[in-house]
């Protein structure tokens, strides 16, 4: 099945794509540090950071709309967390709120640019070379491997549900089937994890993950 993979445009051939993944990781990290430590009232610096990111985005030749959609996904979470801030006592809440939303958006933009312009395997290799603990890398690797399977499985269940539902379904019924699907998905993922672990053990896994250099 086809999904829009997060590294769909990672095969493009631009300066940014060709740069060493370690370099990109470090620069992104430092850049994000700058963004989050900016003063919430220093609007000029936000504009500057945004401009830099936009220039990088243009150089990378990744379609703007693609990046924009990816970054949008995170906005609800940020707003949900930050929405209480304007009601806090003693500070100018609105400014703080705006600062937080801006900072998170710019950081996410930076991360999305990094991930979209680097093949996931190269990104993991880069992190590994930067001495990030192997366990984190493995977790990310498994996540990337099985995320798509999970999406496939959801799609299949959705289709199976649709091909058997006709007539008018009340809102309550829809919610109930949906929560059913989520529940089944959870059980299936759990069992899948179990089987994958057994498959690892069958090939000599003993708690330490080793790959070839």
């Amino acid at each position: 099945m086809h999904h829009s993979y997060i590294d769909k445009y990672a095969e493009l051939d631009s300066v940014i794509h060709k740069a060493d993944s370690r370099l990109k990781i470090i620069i992104s990290f430092v850049f994000i540090l700058f963004i989050v430590s900016a003063n919430p009232t220093a609007y000029l610096s936000f504009v500057l950071y945004g401009l830099i990111l936009l220039i990088l985005l243009a150089v990378s030749r990744i379609p703007f709309l693609f990046i924009f959609k990816k970054t949008l996904v995170v906005i609800p979470f940020v707003v949900l967390i930050a929405v209480y801030i304007p009601f806090m006592k003693g500070q100018d809440g609105i400014i703080l709120f705006r600062g937080i939303v801006l900072r998170s958006y710019l950081s996410i933009l930076c991360m999305t640019l990094l991930i979209s312009s680097t093949k996931f395997t190269r990104l993991l290799k880069g992190l590994e070379q930067l001495k990030i603990p192997k366990i984190f890398i493995m977790i990310m690797s498994f996540m990337y491997r099985y995320l798509f399977l999970l999406v496939d499985e959801t799609q299949r269940m959705q289709r199976a549900k649709e091909s058997r539902s006709f007539g008018k379904a009340g809102r309550f019924r829809i919610i109930r089937t949906l929560s059913n699907i989520i529940g089944v998905l959870f059980v299936r993922s759990y069992e899948r994890a179990e089987r994958v672990y057994l498959a690892m053990c069958s090939r000599g896994f003993n708690g330490r993950i080793r790959t070839m250099e």
């Binding site: 395997t121 491997r145 099985y146 798509f148 498959a199 053990c201 069958s202 896994f205 070839m212």
Partner: protein, 248 residues
């Protein structure tokens, strides 16, 4: 119930080296379902044993006992070693391929997956390279090393799954539905490949043509028990048995 023939009593068993010995194996799932009941079976070096039987008859559960993933009542011995006590050695000798290739392939790239076993065996890197190339080559997948598993078709994943175990050079190959969902060409190739391979094989399957061309012995399982076990030609000569298990 049919006469149970213990094949070591017959001429083709005498003097041969037992690689798998199972005595009165019972296994109950944690929820209380009895999955395997009183399984007694010896498998000899070079045997190809086909495990057949309806869905839910315990074939997969049985296979998972052969490399110690399930332990039942600890009555399985592989190459003379008790499975429950010698897990590391057993897992080098027994190559088990799961039915669902998405369980079998869990690494980033095909190469990493095929190299996973050899790396855990602590082989040196030149040898690992060689084994990966050979295993993938034998499955007609030599060009797939840098590919990412979730971009592959089911049949491709299925063949790479087998390669992940071939690279470990196992003495015993344990396969769960190896031809399931393969296209006709690759199914035929796989059957020929397995037939020419000189290792002990235990294959659970519904593919009767494959059993006929590869296996010299057959175990029919039903409701967690061995319903019949005999040489392939004897099973296929027994019309009553074939009819009873819808194998004709």
């Amino acid at each position: 119930m049919f006469k149970r023939i213990q094949w070591q009593d017959k001429d083709y068993g005498i003097g041969m080296h037992k690689v798998i010995e199972i005595k009165n194996l019972n296994y109950t799932y944690p929820d209380g379902t009895l999955a395997l009941e009183n399984i007694t079976l010896d498998i000899f070096k070079g045997d190809s044993v086909g495990i057949i039987g309806p869905n839910g008859s315990g074939k997969t559960t049985f296979l998972l006992h052969l490399n110690g993933i399930f332990n039942g009542n600890s009555s399985v011995k592989v190459c003379g070693l008790s499975v429950s006590e010698n897990l590391n050695d057993i897992r080098r000798k027994v190559g088990l391929v799961f039915q669902d290739p998405d369980d079998q392939l869990f690494m980033q790239t095909v190469f990493d997956d095929v190299a996973f076993g050899p790396i855990n065996m602590e082989l040196e890197s030149g040898e690992i390279q060689k084994r990966v190339d050979k295993a993938l080559g034998s499955m007609d997948m030599g060009d797939y090393k840098e590919r990412i598993s979730h971009h592959l078709s089911f049949g491709e994943k299925k063949r790479i799954s087998l390669a992940t175990v071939l690279s470990m050079n196992p003495e015993i190959l344990v396969l769960d539905e190896p031809t399931g969902n393969l296209d006709p060409k690759h199914r035929k190739d796989l059957i020929n490949f397995l037939r020419d391979m000189d290792v002990t094989k235990v294959i659970a399957t519904h593919d009767m043509d494959m059993v006929l061309s590869i296996c010299n012995k057959i175990v029919i399982m039903d409701k967690g028990r061995i319903a019949a076990l005999d040489a392939t030609e004897n099973i296929f000569r027994n019309n009553e048995l074939l009819r009873l298990y819808n194998l004709d």
